[in-house]
């Protein structure tokens, strides 16, 4: 009689960790709210696709301006972020600087925008700072990592009395300049995405037009916005040229538009009154404060945290699944030239579409539940990691008699790329969580939902506390992910 073999638990740490995450995600799936609630989801989806293939670029004259503003906000925001991030990177050894950077990058661009909107209003400064601040935190971290990797030997060989600045520009910068340049231009692409979605909170970028045309059911207009956005991202290598870059940087501040003037009284009121917890403001003191904070924690923070965590874990594993399915599409070990070109197009679309926009579209089509968010996060992030892993497999040389098809996938490629796959996935864990929180603004009950409702109800004191909680959660996940990566000896360069 055939007996079930005595299979030992896998000795591979990576396999055990993966299984654990899958188990957690399945448990989360059981308690999550996943549903399609609209009556005619497929008809809406079809109409939307019809809109995309019949784009209408000339319906609104504002579209060109929105495109210009999107680029201008991205350039100004990323430039300021990169410059301040670089300065911060120089003193990144100092603990307080590291903590400060971790904190400012733990708060999503949209949250920063929501905060600044309250006191700067629709002034260009709101959009610029919303990008520049979190980007400065990210730049500081990555630049300092890049600088640390530079060979210290040339520095040691310099005459002792060489000035700090001279030593820096000769012995450190040149050898990592290329990496700094590559990473910065890559962040510029991220900046364009961030800039576009700032439109969803009312800034005059592409997201604003997407939302207004979509909500009115003008799918051809929405399709035009999306196509413009893809073209903008895809043609970056053509129009972002090293020689033109100074021109863009100098010119872009003049194309931010005027917005509304800043009312400085609002700024003062925001800091001295609005964000002070209500019970303290009115002067009742601690006896009112405890019920107030308890209510905030029990009815908003805790459900928000719970939903954010549940959604994050499902989205993380779903991202992994999408990645594992997607990378063969562009790998030279599978398919032919035509299928790979198709794969590239699919992955480019998946990773250029900000998850926020994807989630917004799916939410309109399928109705509110966690499903649109999971699908959006998985498609976007899976597209990014799938692209990176697929490219990595193209560097792998297999023996001539290597198996083909599924066996090649399972026995030759997966074992080789699995560690970097996990590294990228864990790296994006924090990013997925930051996005999960922010998707709440669209009406999914994650932390962003409670932040947004607090702001709608003009309770900025609550909103600020909830944003701080979100930041702490992100910092926690970031450090957990770093611990897991170092335990599994996974290394990776950052992705955005």
């Amino acid at each position: 009689m055939l007996r079930w073999p005595n299979v030992p638990m896998s000795h591979s740490r990576t396999a055990r960790t993966s299984l654990m995450f899958v188990a957690v995600a399945l448990a989360c799936l059981a308690v999550s709210d996943i549903a399609i609630t609209t009556s005619n989801p497929w008809k809406d989806l079809l109409q939307f696709f019809l809109g995309v293939v019949t784009p209408d670029f000339f319906s609104s004259e504002g579209l060109a301006t929105a495109l210009l503003r999107t680029v201008a906000f991205a350039f100004v925001g990323v430039t300021i972020g990169a410059l301040s991030g670089f300065l911060l990177a120089l003193v990144y050894r100092i603990r307080i600087v590291r903590t400060f950077c971790a904190f400012i990058r733990a708060i999503h661009e949209l949250f920063w925008a929501l905060i600044f909107l309250q006191f700067f209003g629709f002034h260009p400064l709101t959009g610029v700072l919303a990008i520049a601040i979190p980007y400065a935190g990210i730049f500081a971290k990555v630049y300092s990592e890049i600088l640390d990797q530079v060979d210290p030997e040339p520095r040691n060989l310099l005459p002792v009395r060489t000035g700090v600045f001279s030593a820096f520009i000769y012995a450190r910068i040149p050898d990592c300049w290329e990496q700094i340049r590559t990473y910065t231009s890559y962040r510029l692409e991220c900046g364009l995405r961030s800039s576009a979605i700032l439109g969803f909170v009312g800034l005059p970028t592409l997201g604003f037009y997407l939302e207004s045309s979509f909500s009115q059911g003008f799918y051809s207009e929405a399709g035009a916005v999306l196509i413009l956005f893809y073209v903008l991202i895809a043609t970056i290598p053509l129009w972002v040229r090293p020689k033109l870059l100074p021109l863009y940087v100098i010119a872009s501040p003049f194309f931010l538009g005027d917005g509304m003037p800043i009312i400085w009284g609002n700024v003062k009121r925001f800091f001295t009154e609005d964000i002070v917890p209500a019970p303290l403001r009115t002067g009742y003191g601690s006896e009112e404060f405890w019920p107030w904070i308890t209510d905030l924690v029990v009815n908003q923070a805790l459900p928000g945290i719970w939903n954010t965590l549940v959604l994050t874990q499902i989205a993380l594993v779903a991202t992994g699944l999408v990645t594992l399915l997607a990378f063969p599409l562009i790998s030279r070990h599978f398919g032919n030239r035509v299928s790979r070109t198709g794969g590239h197009v699919l992955l480019v679309i998946a990773r250029s579409t900000p998850e926020y926009i994807l989630a917004y579209i799916l939410l309109q089509l399928w109705g509110p539940s966690m499903l649109p968010a999971v699908v959006a996060l998985a498609l976007h992030n899976g597209g990014i990691i799938g692209h990176l892993i697929g490219r990595q497999t193209n560097g792998i040389r297999l023996r001539p008699d290597a198996p083909k098809g599924v066996l090649r996938y399972g026995y030759e490629l997966i074992p080789r790329v699995y560690p970097s796959f996990l590294a990228f996935l864990f790296y994006r864990w924090e990013i997925i969580m930051r996005e999960t929180a922010i998707l709440g603004i669209l009406g999914i009950y994650t932390l962003g939902f409670y932040v947004d409702s607090a702001i709608q109800n003009i309770q900025f004191d609550k909103a600020i506390i909830l944003i701080l909680i979100t930041a702490m959660l992100n910092i926690g996940i970031d450090s957990l992910s770093r611990r897991i990566r170092s335990r599994l000896a996974l290394q990776t360069m950052p992705t955005c």
Partner: protein
């Protein structure tokens, strides 16, 4: 170098284990010393230890060369005198070198048959060329003592001889680790043989033949 350099109690440790010394010797002005010994004997460690003691008064050519790969040959050589100029001057040089510096560096490189490589990024050079850039950097440095760890290991015979002659001209005093015994005897005044982290031989070069040195490698 005016005064004798007394080196005492030099010890090298690796993973908490003593791999070199303690050893002591004196470097007199005008002495050109070759450190010989089989690989792993501790020559590199000794060069490092001497450098730590004298630091800025010596030009160092380490085995790893310490070139900035992204910078052209000119700037790698120029780096030896960064301390002679203001930060602004150095910044300007990074963008466009001054004629005077250019002439001086070119002169050194031409003697090393590297004149035409002045603007090549050092990453694009061969091993022997990279080694000559590091030597040019040492020659350009304002120091009167040279410490070098196998500075000619990647050069062919005539070029190695030429380089040793140049070093001899430029530095009246040097301590150079060499594995080529003939080269050591031809270009130095004193040979120090290292074996198992200890000085096993210390004699004037003119009193030695290759046969005297061979036992160090057995």
């Amino acid at each position: 170098m005016d005064a004798p350099l007394e080196l005492t109690g030099l010890s090298g440790f690796y993973n908490g284990q003593r791999v070199l010394g303690p050893l002591s010797f004196t470097v007199n002005p005008g002495e050109r010393i070759a450190l010989v010994g089989s690989s792993g004997a501790g020559k590199s460690t000794l060069i490092r230890l001497i450098h730590d003691r004298v630091n800025d008064t010596a030009a160092l050519v380490p085995q790893e060369l310490g070139l900035v790969n992204a910078l052209p040959v000119f700037h790698n050589v120029y780096m030896a005198r960064l301390d002679q100029h203001s930060a602004l001057y150095n910044l300007a040089t990074l963008i466009r070198p001054f004629r005077k510096d250019r002439a001086e560096v070119t002169g050194i490189l031409e003697r090393l048959s590297m004149g035409e490589k002045l603007w090549k990024p050092s990453a694009s050079l061969s091993g022997g060329q990279r080694q000559r850039v590091a030597i040019a950097r040492a020659l350009y440095r304002e120091a009167d003592l040279l410490l070098a760890d196998e500075p000619v290991s990647a050069l062919d015979g005539p070029m190695a001889n030429l380089v040793m002659t140049l070093l001899q001209e430029r530095f009246s005093t040097f301590v150079v680790a060499l594995h080529d015994v003939e080269l050591a005897l031809d270009h130095t005044t004193r040979i120090i043989g290292i074996r198992n982290g200890k000085i096993a031989l210390d004699a004037p070069s003119r009193d030695l033949t290759p046969a005297d040195i061979r036992p160090l490698y057995d």
